[in-house]
Amino acid sequence: MQKIIIELINRIAEVINTNKDYLTDLDRTIGDGDHGVNLNRGFSKIKEDAGGYSNLSDSEISNKIAMTLISNVGGASGALYGTAFMKMAIFLKGKENISKNDIPDIISVGIEGIKMRGKSDVQEKTMLDTLVPFSNYLKKNIQKEEKLNIIFSEALIKAKEGRDSTIDMLAKKGRASYLKERSIGHLDPGAASSYLILETITDVLRGKDI
C-alpha cells in the first residue's frame, strides 16, 4: 500500500497548495485567516519527506504524517488532522495485507480520533460535518460494490452535502464559534479542507481504477 499512500500524499499536498488562498479566505471570514497557509506548511513538509517513506510500514508512514502535521501545521487543525493519522497508525500497527473491507474501519478510527481531540461531533460546523457522513456511507456500503473508487465517489457526494450543510450552521467549536449568529452563512474552512482531501483520495482511486 506504501506506493498508493505516497502518491496520495503528493496529490493532497498539491491540492492543498493550489487551494491555500481559497481556504485562507474562508478562514479569514469566520476564523483567523490562516487555515490554508498552515495546512500548506504541513503538507508541503510531508511531500518533501515522502521520498523516504517507501521502506516504512503503513503504520509507520501514518505515524510520520501525524508527527509532521502536529509539528508543522500547528493550531487546532494540526492537532486534529495529526490525531487522526496517529490513531490510524495505532490501528494499522502489526496489520499486514490490508483488504478493501478494512478501509472504512481505518478511516473511521481516524475520525473518532478527531472527535475525541476536538471534543466535538457533527452539527457543530467543523470538519466532522464533511468527514462523518463520508465515513458512515463507506461503512454501510463497502460490501455492495467491488470497486473502491465507486463507493468513494458515492461517499464523496455525502461529504459534499455535509460540507455545504455547514454554511447554514451556527458554529459551536473553533474560533468561528465566537461569532455566534454571525457564523451563519459561511462555509467552514475545516469542512472545506477535509472535502478537498477526500476528493483527492477519490480522484486517485478513480485514476487507478481501484
Binding site: D32, D34, G75
Partner: protein
C-alpha cells in the same frame, strides 16, 4: 504594507534569535526549537510553561524569567505550537515538583498542550494545567469552546509565577491560578485590523469610521461593529460589559490593566485609563495597582483591552513580589 522582515517563513525563529542576542543574561533557547527558557533553571520548585501563537509580544517569551514563567513555547504567528514542541518545553524545564501549563482558551492551544501533557505524563512527569478564559465578550458555555483567554493571562503569569518562586506545590498553584482566572475579566475593542505577515493580508476589513467591539487577540471578529465615539464612551461601554461578569464591588480592591494591542499609542491608553479610574471611583472600588502598556498584543492592531482583577490579600502580596523578565519588572 511595509515591514522590517527578511523571510516570512522564518519570522518566529529570527525574532527569538534576536531576543536571545539581546537578553542572553536572562534567557536561553532550546536548541532548534522555538522555546525560550530561563537561564537559571529552577531545581526543586514547580516550573510554569505558557505559550501559544506568536504575535502577542511581549507575551509569552517576554514573561520568562525569575518570578514568572520558566518556559514559553512560541508557535507560528497566531497558531498554537504543535504538541511535540510543547512536550519538548516540558522536558526542558520539568522538576520533581512538577510542571503547570498556563493555557489561553483557544481550541488549538488546548488540544496541543493537552496532547503534550499526555506525552509528558507517560514519561512520569507531574503535569497539571489551567486554562485562562477572561474575555467577557464571548459567552461562556459548556456547549461551545467558551470564553477566550486574552490580556488577563498576564496577571496569571505574574501571580502564579510569584507563588511558584515562593515554593507553592503544583496543587496549590493550580488552585491559585484558578482563583486568579475566576477573578479577572477583560474586554477589548479595535479600530483597525492587524497585518498578518504570514498571509500578507489584514486580519479583517473595517470601515474608516467604524470600530469592532469585543474582538479577540487574533483579529477574530468581536460582538458587533459600530461608529467610533469618544474614548470616554467606549471605555465605559467595555467596563459596563466587564462589570456584568466581575464580582468586584464597593470597597473591593482591584488591579487594572489597560493593554494596547500593538499600534495604539500610550497617549490613547492613558486617556482611556483616566476614564477607568473615574468609573471605579464612582463605584468606590479601590485601585491597588494599574498597568498601562502593551502586554498582550495582536501584532500591529490598533485597539486596546481593559482587564479588571479583583484582589485578595494573597493575590496582592504576589502581585507585589519581585519579577525579572524582559516584559515585566517589579510592579
Amino acid at each position: 504594507m511595509k515591514k522590517i522582515l527578511n523571510n516570512v517563513d522564518n519570522i518566529v525563529d529570527e525574532m527569538l534569535s534576536g531576543m536571545i542576542d539581546a537578553h542572553g543574561n536572562l534567557l536561553d533557547r532550546v536548541d532548534g526549537r522555538n522555546i525560550i527558557i530561563r537561564r537559571n533553571k529552577k531545581i526543586d520548585k514547580v516550573a510554569l510553561i505558557s505559550g501559544g501563537g506568536s504575535g502577542h509580544e511581549p507575551a509569552h517569551a517576554g514573561y520568562v524569567g525569575r518570578g514568572m514563567l520558566d518556559a514559553a513555547v512560541c508557535g507560528q504567528i497566531f497558531s498554537s505550537p504543535g504538541a511535540d514542541e510543547v512536550y519538548d518545553a516540558i522536558k526542558a524545564v520539568a522538576t520533581d515538583a512538577g510542571v503547570l501549563l498556563i493555557i489561553k482558551n483557544y481550541s488549538g492551544d488546548v488540544m496541543n498542550f493537552e496532547m503534550a501533557a499526555e506525552l509528558a505524563a507517560a514519561d512520569g512527569i507531574k503535569v497539571d494545567k489551567i486554562v485562562v478564559n477572561d474575555d467577557v465578550a464571548v459567552e461562556g458555555s459548556t456547549y461551545t469552546v467558551g470564553r477566550r483567554g486574552i490580556a488577563g493571562t498576564v496577571f496569571v503569569h505574574k501571580i502564579v509565577g510569584a507563588a511558584a518562586e515562593k515554593g507553592y506545590s503544583l496543587e496549590e498553584l493550580r488552585k491559585l491560578g484558578e482563583k486568579v482566572i475566576d477573578n479577572v475579566k477583560t474586554m477589548g475593542m479595535s479600530l483597525e485590523p492587524c497585518f498578518v505577515p504570514t498571509t500578507g493580508r489584514k486580519s479583517f476589513d473595517i470601515a474608516n469610521d467604524e470600530v469592532e467591539i469585543g474582538l479577540g487577540i487574533h483579529g477574530e471578529p468581536g460582538t458587533h461593529r459600530e461608529k467610533i465615539k469618544s474614548a470616554e464612551i467606549h471605555v465605559k461601554q467595555l467596563l459596563d460589559e466587564i462589570f456584568k461578569h466581575s464580582n468586584a464591588k464597593t470597597d473591593d480592591e482591584v488591579a487594572v490593566m489597560v493593554n494596547g494591542l500593538g499600534a495604539t499609542t500610550l497617549i490613547e491608553l492613558y486617556i482611556a485609563n483616566k476614564t477607568v479610574k473615574e468609573f471605579l471611583d464612582e463605584r468606590e472600588i479601590n485601585i491597588y495597582k494599574t498597568l498601562v502598556g502593551n502586554f498582550m498584543t495582536s501584532i500591529d492592531m490598533e485597539g486596546f483591552s481593559i482587564s479588571i482583577l479583583k484582589l485578595d490579600e494573597e493575590m496582592k502580596e504576589l502581585l507585589d513580589a519581585q519579577s525579572d523578565t524582559v516584559g515585566m519588572k517589579n510592579l
